[in-house]
């Protein structure tokens, strides 16, 4: 099958990542430095997530890979094919059937279980980076739990816009200690981070950081008493399945700019349609593998 070591990485690299993962789990929300390796896909394209997944995989796993909530986006396809090749694991598009899910920018709508692991691809792990470019400084801030700069910045947003103007990668505080960047998930997904039955692992390859949220961990989105956090989304149902509780993609359907909204989580939407739910625009038979690609 493969001339590669199981899951591609050599054993020494896996040990290094595994040790980092254990410390990450022991210090929720703290970014553990690790010696990220060059992978066959570019930095910025999920190498951190891929290394964490590779270090965690066992042959019995069923792997799901999503990007923007969808299994069929090109990068998800590419990463799934990579692991199918180098680890020979079963793959699935169904959240409920997966034991390990690697994701970019979304948390699945289907609630996760204790027997599942969610691995996030992270571009910029440092939540303070947009306030302070120097790692030497941000490390000190985390060491001393000095997050005043962040609170000031958020309050400036309120002064200027009337609300905190952060719609994704919305920072959270973990167990009342570390401020953490949950990766560029929409803030709509933030409530799923805390008290989750699954283990959540975060890998940033280029920036060389790993962090973790153990199951059932306290995670609070940063806010102020008079400006509490609101997980928001367009106030529309999914045009395909009618769901009102899922995060939606906006799709432009004609040159006049007509738009419709569909579930970002393609598996969730499909499951609902399989169960008979229909939105206003659902085609009668849309899961057609021979559907034409738009030119």
């Amino acid at each position: 099958m493969s001339d590669y070591n199981f899951a591609y990485l050599d054993e020494q690299t896996k040990r290094m990542i595994r040790r980092a993962l254990l410390k990450a789990v022991a210090i929720p929300g703290y970014q553990v430095p690790f010696a990220s390796r060059e992978m066959p896909m570019p930095y910025g394209w999920g190498t951190g997530g891929v290394q964490v997944t590779a270090a965690c995989l066992v042959p019995e796993d069923t792997l799901k890979v999503i990007d923007q909530g969808a299994d069929d986006t090109t990068n998800a396809v590419s990463i799934r094919a990579f692991f199918a090749r180098v680890a020979d694991v079963a793959t699935t598009e169904r959240t409920a059937e997966a034991s390990l899910i690697q994701t970019r920018h979304r948390i699945p709508e289907t609630p996760l279980r204790e027997d599942q692991i969610l691995v996030y691809q992270v571009p910029i792990p440092e939540p303070l980076r947009f306030l302070e470019p120097r790692e030497t400084e941000t490390r000190k801030m985390h060491a001393l739990a000095e997050y005043g700069l962040m609170h000031v910045r958020l309050y400036e947003d309120i002064a200027r816009h009337g609300e905190i103007a952060k719609s994704y990668a919305y920072p959270v505080r973990v167990e009342g200690r570390y401020v953490m960047d949950p990766s560029p998930i929409p803030k709509f997904d933030n409530p799923k981070l805390g008290d989750c039955p699954a283990l959540q692992l975060f890998g940033a390859g280029r920036e060389q950081r790993i962090y973790a949220l153990p199951p059932y961990t306290r995670v609070e989105s940063l806010d102020f008493e008079d400006y509490p956090f609101k997980a928001s989304k367009p106030d529309q149902p999914c045009a395909l399945c009618g769901a009102r509780d899922s995060y939606l993609d906006e799709v432009i359907t004609d040159d006049a700019g007509t738009r419709m909204f569909v579930c970002s989580d393609t598996d969730y939407c499909r499951e609902r349609r399989d169960a008979g739910h229909r939105g206003l625009m659902a085609a009668p038979f849309e899961d057609d593998a021979d559907a034409e690609l738009p030119q």
């Binding site: 410390k23 990450a24 789990v25 022991a26 210090i27 042959p59 039955p197 199951p215």
Partner: protein
Amino acid sequence: MDATALSGGFAQPAIDAAHVFRDVLQAMARPGRIARITGVSPPPGLSLAAAAVLLTLADETTPVHLAGACDSAPIRNYLRFHTGAPITGRADAAFALGNWEALAPLSDYPLGTDAYPDRSATLIVELPALTAMGARLTGPGIRTHAQLSLPEIDPFIANARHFPRGLDFIFTSGTAIAALPRTTRVEAG
């Protein structure tokens, strides 16, 4: 070096280590849960679970401290052959192995720094038994509460006060394994 040092490792290193790591990861992520590990034949004085943990996590870059009766020639040889881990004193250890009394005092081991709390030792504590009874555990990884037969209470409370610095623990007994990260709140059961 006697023959038992050369045998007794993983039959399929990549696959076996992957399985053991998943168990250790879940143990650390869900304090109090006990899992079972098989697949190695360690020398006398070393439990199967502890041997599997060391083979999975230790290598030339991780100094290991052997405490008390674990500092024996068969165990040293086994470790050296299968992991290449340098054997060191307590202050430099990435991992320390021994029974609870031999490992004490906990203050001997690196706790990490405020800037790098991850640079702390992980203690592999060999216990005579490991059951879901005794000390009461709450905190990250535990939905409501759990119980685990910890050898003592106070040292873990003291360890938690160092947060974010602190030691992390893996408990082993025969083929059983459980773990306690530094975030777990421990009280009498």
